[in-house]
Assembly symmetry: C2
Homo-oligomer: 329 residues x 2
């Protein structure tokens, strides 16, 4: 039967149907770690830990920027997509449906969603995590919906989203001075769970969003808050079956990645207001940075832990002025 009816079921869009047999030529934690497997297991097991599991602070931290955001590409998208009264995409890179959050459309204004390409980028990172054997034991995200989506799509692409509940941590939110109109209406963990995000409803955040907005924060204070949060999350004791110790993943903003690179090193490097002004230029969507804790408890940047994603172009639109020229040059 011809399935051309508007609204009829669509097949899943699959990136690569045969992705079982191959792998990337990149370093895994096994390749890069400097601690022998048995020694590590022995030192970190305790009497109360089930056999085969380890309880320890993070051995590896993966920090990631969210995927491509819709409002960046499509200014005024809420008005333009809702002319008929309900949301309708007007570009194939817009999601066909928005996350089924029980909230007004206006709440998407300061809390935007991923584009389709942003979703695919997150999925590619998830595939990289799986194939390079560096799946996280624990995932934290900024409360921004685009970050929760990025974490969720990465875990789903790795076939791993039922294994790890996402911890929504308001202390990871970006610089509040970027939001002169005040606190965005973030979806609550309960709303996110109802929309099929596997969030941890029992997670007790370091800071609530209300606390974050309780007083103005300078850019320097933002940097301090973020770097302190990152280092604190890396010291939480977690359980893993990975003999090298727990892997945590933190999904945030461009500034999160920059501040992480400044935090997970011997001597802290801060980010200035000037640095953070156009930070998105330096850390593209779904940029990742991976840090490993050495035997001497030093953090080291691990350049090849994940493959990069290289792609091109920004529109499929033809150049009409050229195409509709009337004569040969």
């Amino acid at each position: 039967m011809r399935r051309s009816d508007r609204g009829s079921p669509m097949h899943d869009i699959i990136v690569s149907p045969k992705c079982v047999a191959s792998s990337y030529g990149f370093a895994t934690l096994e390749d890069t770690t400097d601690v022998p497997r048995t020694a590590r297991s022995a030192t970190s097991c305790t009497a109360s830990t089930p056999p085969g599991t380890i309880r320890n602070a993070a051995r590896r931290v993966i920090v990631m920027r969210h995927g491509e955001r819709l409002d960046d590409l499509f200014p005024g998208w809420i008005e333009k997509s809702c002319l008929s009264g309900v949301y309708r995409a007007y570009d194939l890179n817009m999601p066909l449906v928005l996350p089924q959050l029980d909230r007004p459309m206006a709440h998407f204004d300061a809390d935007t969603v991923l584009t389709e390409m942003g979703t695919v980028l997150a999925q590619m990172v998830g595939r990289g995590l799986l194939i390079n054997k560096t799946l996280p034991d624990v995932v934290y995200t900024s409360p921004a919906l685009r970050c929760v989506q990025t974490a969720s799509f990465a875990l789903k692409a790795a076939g791993y989203d039922d294994q790890v509940k996402i911890r929504v941590e308001p202390a990871l939110f970006e610089n509040t001075t970027l939001y002169p109109e005040g606190q965005p209406k973030f979806a609550t963990p309960a709303q996110l769970a109802a929309a099929d995000f596997n969030v941890d409803a029992n997670y007790k955040p370091i800071m609530t969003a209300d606390k974050l907005w309780s007083r103005p924060e300078s850019i320097e204070e933002y940097g301090d808050r973020l770097q302190k949060t990152l280092l604190q999350l890396a010291e939480n004791i977690e359980t893993t079956t990975n003999p090298y110790g727990p892997i945590i993943m933190i999904v945030g903003h461009a500034s999160t990645v920059d501040l992480a690179i400044g935090a997970f090193r011997e001597q802290i490097r801060r980010s200035s207001a000037a640095d953070l002004l156009n930070i998105g230029i330096f850390y593209p969507f779904c940029a990742t940075a991976v840090f490993d804790r050495s035997i001497t408890q030093q953090w080291k940047y691990c350049e090849n832990a994940l493959p990069p994603i290289t792609y091109r172009n920004f529109t499929s639109k033809i150049n009409s002025r050229f195409a509709f020229r009337t004569s040969v040059k």
Copy 2:
């Protein structure tokens, strides 16, 4: 169970899990056609046509460029990806496995494959075809593998690839002067079928690839060959259940789209050698152009038949020089 083993099964990468309820705000053939449904059906049915079907020349022609090509982004990819003796991707935008064609790696050199993003672009176009109710009855492609892949992924994303066999037409191949080393080793329809492409093994092409390479062709001759081929394919009598008449899709190169825009109009507009020199700039990957035949048998460009695809960025790599700066500015 934790699935972190190298080579363990991966879940399908899905762009949007809930894409049933919504649609794009774009014109369908019903909206744009100027022929009433019943009149068209009456004039084009013949005694030998089964009830509910029509036999006629194309009513709509969709011309499309292939998706993002691997060799463009990753020069020397064959050597670099095969250092271990077998193909291994070294970027998350490279396919995890190549199409399972029974041919030497060297044949991919002049006959490259799509990137993962190229695949996703093709799938997005397929989704647009489905939702805008303009699925093709007949699909032709250039013999270049990237074009066959693009057609196949678009049809698959529309859940329609088992309905339409792809006709590989060497006369649609691009300018042979772009291949100074001679004819690429195209996969045969039999090889493509064995690699799970739904190609029409019985299709008799206008021209074989050997014929195409039997003598040198100037750029002007290329333009003539292509425009003649496009117009000829549009006159083939096809069967459809679409009351407006058959829809054909042609997947080719950037120059194919430009030459189509020059061909499907009242008076032909040719493309000069200068026009074709950097034609890819004007027609991005997966650019589409749609033409409808009017009641007076004139071809008209139909601007809004398919939604555009707008996206951004070209790498997920961080800017290391910035990231690893040692002090605050």
